[in-house]
Structures are given as structure tokens and as C-alpha cells.
């Protein structure tokens, strides 16, 4: 995923239909937009606002060779590798989460050279999306220098600052072909409001060549226009809008539901004995088995969804 020449970036953006138009579609139709081999920026971070429903749909559609970029990668990354949807993950940190230990799936795939875990510092991932969002080929930064992280990355440059003479690292713009972002609410045109931590999603939306939004609910454009200072992603960057309640489950969506910890513990336990068999069985049961997202949620279980919702909404309690 190298910096595009500016002409090419402009050409791709110029070709997009950026007009104010309805973009509501099904998960399946949105998944069909993403071809095999596409570069995909994934919104949220770790267990937060993961576009799980969209990843679920892409895996079910049998997508292959996706090059995935995310700030911090959790279980969705394990599922992308194990399903064969991706063999290349660009991220700063990759494991389900510190409380569950080092990812056995990540280890299996990377140590066995079955997949590439391309490691950049967290800020470097963020600045690569930001450069992409700004329409510049790189941004300068002051970390990574001297470390082996930068030493093993061919796609950086070190310069002496033409103003101060100081050493700086330049990181190249990342303009993924697709961004998958999950939000609390948006309108049919894709004007999105995000509550809580925005992570890198605003830059990611601007950087990507196409944006697929999943949303807990679709609201009217009138509602958006009553508070334009609450819009975080503008419609003109968005290509698809899919309404998916609990679209991040078993991860969290700020203010609505926390992670489904019991499910995540059970998932981790299932992978502990035999990671490959464990995750294959998990994929079969939760990804390939259900006929619909609602059936998937039913498998997660109403009791845990309610518990996660109670915890999620409590963020607004005094």
C-alpha cells in the first residue's frame, strides 16, 4: 500500500459519485462492492466500534487477499486470517487483547509465513491515514527513528529538516481502496455522528477511495442538519450505508453496548487448545452458519446483548 501519485489519487476521487444521494443497502450488497485483493482500512480500535458486521459479510462472501489496515487489531484480525479473507494485516498491535494473552492465531500465521503482520508504530498508522486524508504524499514525524520498527519498513524515508536540520522520518500516505467504519448513527446519505472515541476514523474516511458505513441506526438528514457540528464524517466521502444493530458485537459501540466479555472469554477458550480447529469451529458456528445478522445476534444470545447494552448505556449515568 504505497503512496499514490497525485494525478492518480485525484482521478480516482474525481470518478466517485460524491453527490448528495441515498446509499442505503444490505450488508450483502455492500460486501459485493469490495473485490478480492482490495486494500481495506478498518475503523475503530481493538474492541471498539469494530465494523464486525461488515467483516462478517466479507468473510461469508468468501473474499480473499484483502490487505487490511487498522490502528490496533483484535479478534477481527484473527478471523480475517483464519477465514482466508486476508493474508496481510498492517497494524501497530495484533492480539485479541492483553487480558487474553498473545494471539495464537496471529503467531501461527505469521511465524509460519502464511500471513504478513506489517508493523508500524501506532502514531505512524495514524499519520499515514492523515496524510491520505490531507492529499499529501507523506507526513513527517519524530518517533520510530533508531528503532528496528522503522529499520524493517522499506516505505519510509529519513530526512534532515530543511528548516531546522533535525532528523525526521517521513511516513507515506495510506489511501486504502475501501474504509469500513461503524458508527452510532448516520443519515441515508452517509453523514455520520460518532460518540466517544473517534480513533482514526475521520482521517480514514477522508483517506479511503470508498467508504462503507455500517450504523446502529439511520436517522433523517433533517436530524443531522439540526446539529452540523456533530457530524464527524461527511456524506461526500461515503459510498454505502448499512443499518446493522449491534453491528460491532461482540465488540463494543460507545454508549450503546460494551464488549460481550463472556462471549470473548469463550472465544479465547475455544482457541486455546487448538487454535486452528477452535477458530474454524467458531467461524462455522458464528460466521458461516447463521442465515442473517439477526440469527448471528441470536447465537450471541439475548441475555448477553442486554447485559452489554446495560453496561454500554451506563456511560451516560451520573
Amino acid at each position: 500500500m504505497l503512496t499514490l501519485a497525485y494525478n492518480e489519487l485525484r482521478r480516482r476521487t474525481g470518478e466517485r459519485d460524491r453527490s448528495l444521494r441515498e446509499k442505503v443497502m444490505s450488508l450483502e450488497a455492500a460486501a459485493a462492492l469490495v473485490p478480492d485483493g482490495a486494500s481495506v482500512g478498518i475503523g475503530g480500535s481493538t474492541l471498539s466500534r469494530t465494523p464486525m458486521a461488515m467483516i462478517w459479510a466479507l468473510i461469508r462472501a468468501g473474499r480473499k487477499e484483502l490487505v487490511c489496515a487498522r490502528s490496533i487489531t483484535s479478534s477481527e484480525g484473527e478471523l480475517l486470517l483464519a477465514s482466508g479473507a486476508s493474508r496481510h494485516v498492517l497494524t501497530s498491535w495484533f492480539s485479541q487483547g492483553i487480558v487474553w494473552g498473545v494471539s495464537r492465531i496471529m503467531r501461527l500465521y505469521t511465524e509460519g509465513n502464511r500471513a504478513r503482520f506489517e508493523e508500524w508504530s501506532h502514531m505512524a498508522v495514524g499519520l499515514r491515514f492523515r496524510a491520505g486524508a490531507m492529499g499529501v504524499p507523506f507526513l513527517p514525524m519524530r518517533s520510530m527513528m533508531g528503532s528496528d520498527v522503522v529499520a524493517q519498513l522499506p516505505d519510509t524515508r529519513q530526512i534532515d529538516c530543511p528548516f531546522t536540520g533535525e532528523k525526521l522520518v517521513l511516513v507515506p500516505a495510506l489511501n486504502p481502496e475501501f474504509a469500513l467504519i461503524h458508527v452510532q448513527r448516520c443519515d441515508a446519505y452517509g453523514n455520520a455522528q460518532i460518540d466517544g472515541l473517534p480513533f482514526m476514523d475521520l482521517d480514514l474516511a477522508m483517506a479511503a477511495n470508498r467508504v462503507i458505513l455500517t450504523t446502529e441506526r439511520i436517522v433523517s438528514n433533517d436530524q443531522i442538519r439540526r446539529a452540523p457540528d456533530q457530524t464527524k464524517i461527511p456524506f461526500l466521502t461515503v459510498d454505502a450505508v448499512v443499518e446493522v444493530p449491534f453491528g460491532s458485537a461482540p465488540h463494543e459501540c460507545y454508549g450503546l453496548y460494551e464488549p460481550l466479555f463472556k462471549h470473548l472469554d469463550a472465544y479465547a477458550a475455544q482457541l486455546r487448545q487448538n487454535p486452528e480447529e477452535g477458530i474454524a469451529a467458531y467461524l462455522e458456528r458464528f460466521f458461516y452458519g447463521p442465515k442473517s445478522w439477526t440469527e448471528y445476534l441470536d447465537l450471541l444470545g439475548l441475555e448477553e446483548l442486554l447485559d452489554a447494552s446495560r453496561r454500554g448505556k451506563s456511560i451516560y449515568d451520573d
Binding site: 480500535s45 481493538t46 474492541l47 471498539s48 490502528s71 490496533i72 483484535s74 497494524t91 501497530s92 498491535w93 495484533f94 492480539s95 487483547g97 492483553i98 487480558v99 498473545v102 494471539s103 496471529m106 503467531r107 505469521t110 511465524e111 503482520f117 508493523e119 508504530s121 501506532h122 502514531m123 505512524a124 495514524g126 499519520l127 491515514f129 492523515r130 514525524m141 519524530r142 518517533s143 520510530m144 527513528m145 533508531g146 528503532s147 528496528d148 520498527v149 524493517q152 529519513q158 533535525e166 532528523k167 525526521l168 522520518v169 466517544g196 472515541l197 473517534p198 480513533f199 482514526m200 475521520l202 482521517d203 463494543e252 460507545y254 454508549g255 460494551e258 464488549p259 466479555f261 454500554g312
Partner: protein, 266 residues
């Protein structure tokens, strides 16, 4: 025989504590009221929160998920620094890129992380065990670690084991003083650097000129020999090596109130 395992439960006159609890209390003691600390998940998050509840009510805690001025609630520790539990009663949230940029802009006094492997110059490895081209173990990676270590004064809290304290890390994920002397600055990292390593055996710092790791203090009941035996390189020893005060009942009670399920202090 590993000291950490041996010392899994330690006693003061009236109470016992785990190695993780010792780490949390001892590293919390290094944080001062009024400072701005950028804390990683696990012990750092817990210790910073503990300091805030004990001696440093005006401690400003930042998380890489995007939280400024966090106030984590007892019993509701987040599974990483990216979930809503990090933000409840916080002063601000902003993008993860922007909170990391605060490190670069210089607003942060102290970076505070855990460590998997460290070397005599304070370089941290959380990426590869063994040859990075053919690792025996791929670790989760940098996260914000590289950025934090590149741009601030660092406190690292970690278990003191020979396999973790190595002469040269297999891979420099997060830079300490690189090859010592001025090499960090020469590489372009003109600010920050390792400040303290807190372990379950003692407190360590770095020699001002050579930048080699130095034993500064011992936890109660630990000898300098024991520390050296559990370290894979030759430690410098400060001219005076005092003994730290053991965790008080008050500190342990506050800690256990914050982490009743021992998510971070198992």
C-alpha cells in the same frame, strides 16, 4: 529458580501481596501530583489510577485510545486503552492520532508502559523473540510503545526475570538509549529517554553518561545479588542502594478496590 515465581506472594507484617501488586504500588509511587502521564494498559493504567486515588489527585492520565484526564472507576477496568471505560468522567476524548501527537508536541511528562523484554540500555522488545526473520515467537508489536518511548521520559514496569532482562533485545520495538552514550540523540531522538524500570525486585535507572542500567533500590527482602542473578547482563550498582518501603495496607486496599477481579494483578 525464578525470583518472580518464588516471590509470587510476599508478606509485609500484616498482609500478603502478589508480584503484580508490588509492581503497581511501587511504580505508582514514582508518579507525582500535577504530572501528565501517558499510561499503557495493564499495570501502568492501574498504577496511574492508584496514584491518582492516593497521593496524586491532580495526576493527568492519557491513554493512546484518545483519552485525556482519565478517571477510571473501581471494578471497571477496560480490556485495553481503547474502550469506553477509559473515558467515563474523563476531561476529553480525541482521536488516537491526536493523543499520540501530544507526546510529540511535548505536553506529556512521563510515559509509562509494561515490558516483555528489555536490555541494558533500556530498549524494549514487544515484537519478536528470536531472529525477526524466523522468530520463535511473534509478539503483539509496538502499539503506541514506540511513540511513547521515542518522545517521553519513560517508566517501565515489568517482571524481573533473566529471560526478560537481556544484554541486547532481539528487536528494538521501543527505543531506550539504543547503543548507549549519545546514540539515542544521534539517531534523532532528542527528547525523552528511559527514566526508571520498576520490577518486583527493585528500582532501576540509567547511568547518565553510558546509559547502562543501574540498580537504584531494592524491595524489602531482596539482595543486589539476587537482582544480578535474575538479570542477563551486568548491572551497574548505585553507590547507595536503599530499600524501598513495602506496600502499605492502605495502598493494597486501594489497589484491590480498583481491580477486585485481579484483571491486571493476577
Amino acid at each position: 529458580m525464578r525470583a518472580a515465581a518464588e516471590r509470587a506472594f510476599m508478606t509485609t507484617s500484616t498482609t500478603t501481596y502478589t508480584a503484580s501488586e508490588l509492581l503497581a504500588v511501587m511504580s505508582a509511587g514514582l508518579l507525582c501530583d500535577g504530572q501528565v502521564v501517558f499510561a499503557g494498559v495493564g499495570i501502568p493504567l492501574l498504577a496511574a489510577t492508584l496514584a491518582q486515588r492516593l497521593h496524586a489527585p491532580g495526576l493527568t492520565i492519557l491513554f493512546e485510545g484518545g483519552t485525556i484526564g482519565a478517571f477510571v472507576e473501581p471494578g471497571k477496568l477496560p480490556p485495553s486503552t481503547n474502550e469506553q471505560r477509559c473515558t467515563r468522567r474523563a476531561n476529553m476524548v480525541l482521536s488516537s492520532t491526536d493523543v499520540l501527537l501530544l507526546l510529540q508536541r511535548g505536553y506529556v511528562d512521563i510515559g509509562f508502559m509494561g515490558g516483555a523484554q528489555i536490555d541494558q540500555y533500556g530498549n524494549l522488545n514487544s515484537s519478536f523473540i528470536g531472529d525477526p526473520q524466523h522468530p520463535t515467537s511473534r509478539l503483539p508489536g509496538s502499539g503506541g510503545g514506540n511513540d511513547i518511548a521515542s518522545l517521553t521520559q519513560m517508566i517501565v514496569a515489568m517482571r524481573h526475570e533473566k529471560r526478560r532482562f537481556v544484554k541486547k533485545v532481539d528487536f528494538v520495538t521501543s527505543p531506550g538509549f539504543l547503543a548507549g552514550d549519545n546514540s539515542r540523540c544521534d539517531a534523532g531522538l532528542v527528547a525523552g529517554g528511559m527514566y526508571r524500570v520498576v520490577t518486583d525486585l527493585g528500582m532501576l535507572g540509567f547511568d547518565e553518561r553510558s546509559k547502562r542500567m543501574e540498580l537504584l533500590a531494592l524491595h524489602p527482602g531482596v539482595t543486589a545479588d539476587q537482582v544480578q542473578q535474575n538479570t542477563g547482563f551486568e548491572l551497574l550498582i548505585a553507590s547507595e542502594v536503599p530499600v524501598t518501603n513495602p506496600p502499605t495496607e492502605n495502598e493494597l486496599a486501594a489497589l484491590r478496590h480498583l481491580d477486585p477481579d485481579r484483571i491486571y494483578t493476577a
